[in-house]
Symmetry: C2
Subunit: 425 residues, 2 copies
């Protein structure tokens, strides 16, 4: 393999996680070790910024800021939900791809890393294929990122362990709180977490039980299984009869038997055409209060769960950093068209995490859901197989500096490189 | 003052906080130092348990469990919302008071400590007055507790510093997250926090700005000021024009000019006859989306905020413990009919916290709101005077043990003492 000399471009895409910047730090710090990589650039706000030739000079950043990315939430380079969509908008997509290669070639980009979820891996795949088609020598590697944990072939997705650690901590704390107020009247608390079609996030809160069946959460509603109101109400009643209270966790995307989302607000669509969801917990609250006459409160953790760096998993952060490092190593060694994956090695009884490579073509448009046999027969709780899988992902606490009682996160200076092209038409 | 020998009864009331158990630990550990205090008992689920003669033998608990109360959320003894209500239910209240003294005398209770908010201080006051009237020698001291921070005469209320630390951390993290996704389209995120009539909790999130006007939160809606839709929408628009995103924090109890609660669900009342509130953020979201066509997400922190021990303030916890200790010291020294208050001493440039005593008669039914001159002229943000007040309350991080990636909290064994009376009729 001949050494490929040139510049590196890294960008972040989609919803941020607590560890998306750890992957960025992995890319940047590893890139600094390779002489063939000349300049290190970052796309501002993902592919959208690259199309606008809006590019950050990362070599201009302080080393301690890059180090601080390991414990800083959100997307330090900025992110976007823009997608080069060959299916729905083929003409725009073709124009975008032309423009993208104009920008990449103008700045001699030979290494391209995109940190993101399913859609971003699809984008990386398209860019890799296009580079091959154009005979443009460039190495493209996808770095996995999604709290949804729905990418195939990787043991887990960076971001997932941290969202589970925060959500399980929160459900445990809320559970103790509500349990301490439990009197004969009974009460119910419904906590809504993210997860549009995969229930990994909701399922992860089962760790709050710490192996004790009586501990909350008592019911976890997963988008993988149809919501059945009568069975649900019977389970709530059974739980309140036993414990005087019931903690329910619900994934935002749960659907009834006819496939209608319980909490969908169909009046709004996001930029990908998905309906904006916000109301599963409120909908369930109305059902529980109306049918069982049970005092019910809700919590909707929203963006707080994916941004909760203060409660991030060290295991998750370490794996996220390793994915960034591995992407650069693979590219320098000559690979292109792969996504880095996390591999679990449990051969010696203790868990060791390594990384591997999976062709990007295997990733795009494949959604990894929770296996049915990882869920209890009645569908209301993940079982021991799930717990065995998820428990190691939340281990270890990330260290971060404090200032006046609040975490002290870093921010990039984001000085821009000079534009060489006319504005995007 | 003659020494009063006898037993001690402590109970917890109302909504838990992250530090209500620190106050309990303060009572218990201080009580152990005084020979005149013979047995240490806890009321299970507040006054309700005491009426049912449902009493926990605290001397049966392990010392390390008592120590662990300093970092354990929720009400370790159990709590209730039951109120001896002389105004609305005078006959029931008179029967309750007779029963209460039956229980107190059957177990030779000479020291009574009730840890709670406004309603509980009122209950303590009534019990103190009744003891005097009956010629029953007993020392009654109220220990302050409320995340709402609305008790008068105390610098702050135990529980408040911790809820502010967690909420400000959360708003800061969500703010960085949403800011990192900010593109030309603009977006809005509305975070609902607790606070029915006092806006202290919502106001506290201003600390997330860390003195930078451009930092989120950009708008804080306080229940103290009437909600004006047009001015609010203009402020959101102005903020999005400047920053491409807008973070709004709203106290659950905000009201419009005619006094109607924006998020009230009037179909449900809690056991005190208050309407159950849950929807201010959702209501505002509909307004922002409908009038400004701006993508808007919400978060509703609910009970998570008051239970968030993992992000509690060491200053708050230390003060809460000191309040418990001070209550016992005052009672042993002969005082009765007081609430312990927290006193801020800033005489040497650094802040020192001490405790004092305030007659319970000064506390009941007085609600301490944010002074108008601590809020900006346009009403959308607390000003520097508020920041100076609130900032010291979130300082310091509470230490707690971890187990498998989750905090390891304690629970009391709660062995009950033998009942001596017939069941409550």
């Amino acid at each position: 393999m001949t050494e490929l000399a040139g510049n590196l471009l890294v960008a972040q895409s989609g919803g941020p996680t607590a560890v998306i910047n750890a992957s960025l730090a992995g890319v940047i710090q590893e890139a600094g070790k390779h002489e063939c990589i000349e300049e290190i650039y970052g796309g501002a706000n993902g592919i959208l910024g690259i199309l606008n030739e809006d590019i950050i000079d990362i070599n201009d950043e302080k080393a301690k800021t890059i180090e601080g990315l390991k414990y800083t939430p959100a997307a330090a380079l900025g992110t976007c939900r823009y997608k080069i969509d060959f299916k729905k908008k083929p003409e725009q997509a073709a124009r975008d791809m032309d423009r993208l290669f104009e920008v990449l070639q103008a700045h001699n980009i030979r290494y391209f890393f995109y940190i993101g979820g399913n859609d971003s891996q699809d984008t990386s795949h398209k860019i890799h294929e296009e580079a091959v088609k154009r005979g443009c020598e460039m190495r493209v590697i996808g770095v996995p990122k999604t709290i949804d944990n729905d990418l195939p072939h990787t043991d887990n997705c960076p971001g997932y362990g941290s969202v589970v650690k925060y959500n399980a901590t929160t459900v445990m704390e809320v559970g103790i709180d509500v349990g301490s107020m439990a009197t004969d009247d009974g009460s119910c608390c419904i906590i809504e977490v993210m997860g549009r079609s995969a229930g990994w996030i909701a399922a992860g809160t089962v760790l709050a039980k710490r192996g004790q069946p009586a501990n909350p959460p008592h019911i976890i509603l997963l988008p993988e299984l149809p919501f059945e109101e009568e069975k649900f109400l019977a389970k709530v009643k059974e739980t309140v009869d036993a414990h005087h209270y019931c903690i329910v966790v619900v994934g935002e995307g749960i659907k009834n038997a006819s496939g209608h989302e319980v909490g969908a607000d169909k009046t709004r669509l996001d930029s990908f055409g998905h309906p904006v969801l916000a109301g599963a917990a409120e909908e369930l609250k109305e059902i529980v209060q109306g049918k069982l006459d049970l005092k019910t409160r809700t919590a909707l953790l929203g963006y707080a769960q994916r941004a909760a760096e203060h409660c991030a998993s060290l295991t998750d952060s370490t794996n996220a950093f390793a994915c960034g490092e591995a992407a650069v190593k693979a590219a320098v060694a000559g690979s292109s068209g792969y996504m880095v994956k996390i591999v679990r090695d449990q051969s010696n009884g203790t868990i060791r995490w390594t990384t591997g490579l999976q062709p990007l073509g295997d990733i795009a448009n494949v959604e990894h859901l929770i296996p049915r046999d990882w869920i209890s027969e009645d569908g209301f709780l993940p079982n021991e197989k799930f717990v065995e899988y998820a428990r190691p992902l939340i281990e270890g606490e990330l260290k971060y500096p404090m200032d006046g009682g609040l975490p002290k996160y870093v921010a990039l200076d984001k000085s821009r490189i000079e534009k060489k092209l006319a504005p995007r038409s």
